[in-house]
Symmetry: C2
Subunit: 117 residues, 2 copies
């Protein structure tokens, strides 16, 4: 499945960059919301390198309408960032994709959503 | 269709509250993104009352997994707000639903997304 291939490509890129994958998927709870359960095929990965901790939300952006994929990705990214900041504030959240999504939407104007691998 | 019924209910609620529906749907362009075209059945409505201008993004939240509906709704809301602030800054964006979505997620903690009819 394409989604899984994308997931593996992003994981391999992280490992090449000397990140150690610690959780695949990363599960965490915030309030009454159990993150990851609702994700289905879209998984979040955790990695560590020299004391740094990151979480990577991997998105495939396979929908013919890029904006249709962008809306839930933005909503998820901000929700995860909020939940992680409360549960594990030292872990920085990144969005990971093998497609260049900077051109889909002026994502740079979202100051809170400009971390893209 | 349920989605259309929800749309009508929100519109009637606005009209009862003396808002005049001016655009159904409201179409606007920001950068190279043509808003409304990608929306499909989810429509955005514009209304005016005594010089006040609003836009209402109507969401049905019909998915059994509320969080699955919430992510794109949040992404859309923030994207529309950004686009409207550039194209028509005097128009205030609201999210409209006939379901109480405050309990789905702690939406109140998003200071930019707390306008719900």
């Amino acid at each position: 499945m394409f989604k899984d291939r994308f997931h593996e490509v992003v994981k391999q890129a992280l490992e090449k960059d000397r990140w150690v994958i610690t959780d695949d998927p990363l599960r965490f709870k915030f309030g009454n919301v159990n993150f990851q359960v609702d994700l289905g095929a879209e998984r979040i990965v955790a990695a560590e390198r020299a004391g740094e901790k990151i979480a990577v939300e991997i998105k495939s952006f396979l929908n013919p309408s890029a904006i249709t994929d962008f809306y839930p990705a933005l909503g998820q990214f901000l929700s995860y960032r909020l939940a992680l900041s409360a549960t594990e504030p030292e872990r920085v959240l990144f969005g990971g994709s093998v497609r260049c999504i900077r051109n889909i939407f002026p994502i740079g104007v979202y100051p809170s959503c400009n971390k893209i691998i």
